[in-house]
């Protein structure tokens, strides 16, 4: 699907911003934040669910793998409306990590062969229409576009 400039450009309305610090309560905060954003921007329940799932999976990855040498996570999530849905930007101060570079899991494996992990980033790719990774001097930035 072709994306118009409007899907990628930050909306004139700067949107909502959530600051997270890698604590377990981040997931509560994430649910509340995206509930509020969905009401504000009129996103439907399915979009809200998909955005929440994608953000939890990415947040888990950042906190689990992003700070091998210690340090305090500083994570910022912003949400804004686009002409056709949602635009989320997730930024961190973690080590360089492009989640999109991971291979997809093999979903055809039986119970015995099935590894315990590896689904999170795959879910992000499934529920978000367009995901774009950038490495910045300050950390990682992932931009997610979701159409309704």
């Amino acid at each position: 699907m072709a994306h118009s400039d409007d899907d990628h450009r930050a909306a004139a309305d700067e949107g909502c911003v959530l600051a997270l610090d890698g604590e377990r309560s981040d997931i509560d905060a994430l649910h509340r934040f995206l509930e509020g954003a969905s009401v504000r921007f009129g996103w439907n329940a399915r979009t809200q669910h998909h955005l929440t799932l994608a953000c939890e999976e990415l947040l888990t990855n950042i906190v689990s793998y992003g700070y091998p040498h210690g340090g305090v996570p500083r994570i910022r999530l912003s949400a804004a409306a686009t002409a056709r849905g949602a635009r989320l930007v997730l930024e961190d101060n973690a080590v360089a990590f492009d989640p999109l570079g991971q291979p997809d899991p093999d979903l055809s494996l039986d119970l015995d062969s099935r590894p315990i992990g590896g689904l999170g980033v795959y879910f992000v790719k499934r529920v978000i229409d367009d995901v774009h990774y950038e490495r910045l001097p300050s950390g990682n930035r992932l931009t997610m576009i979701k159409f309704e």
Partner: protein, 113 residues
């Protein structure tokens, strides 16, 4: 998340309400392990009041299913709502897990095994 465990007719039913995610997955995993340690081998995971599951929650279900298989038991996932079912479907686990529409139906099936 709220956990409730009960056993009837030799079937252990673990009801998981609210969210099963990275915040509370370890608690749910411990609850299942506790039921298995009590000697149960037939399990229903009742998701009828579950609103949300992430990969961290699926991990709990996968660990439970593997453990159940190792002790030659049975496990049925029951009562998934649309959002929860979609996550299971994306994971490919629907094809390798037994499911039922309701916990009662699942317990009935297991009681006769």
């Amino acid at each position: 998340m709220n956990l409730t465990a009960k056993a009837t007719d030799g079937v252990a039913i673990l009801s998981i309400e609210g969210r099963l995610d990275g915040q509370n997955a370890s608690e749910a995993e411990a609850a299942f392990a506790g039921l298995a340690a009590e000697g149960h081998s037939r399990f229903v995971l009742d998701f009828s009041a579950l609103q949300y599951i992430s990969s961290a929650g699926l991990r709990v279900v996968l660990v439970a299913a593997k453990k159940t298989k190792a002790i030659k038991g049975s496990l049925i996932c029951a009562g998934m709502n649309e959002a929860v079912r979609e996550v299971f479907e994306m994971s490919g686990l629907l094809g390798i897990l037994e499911t039922a529409d309701t916990a009662d139906e699942a317990a009935g099936r297991l009681a006769s095994r």
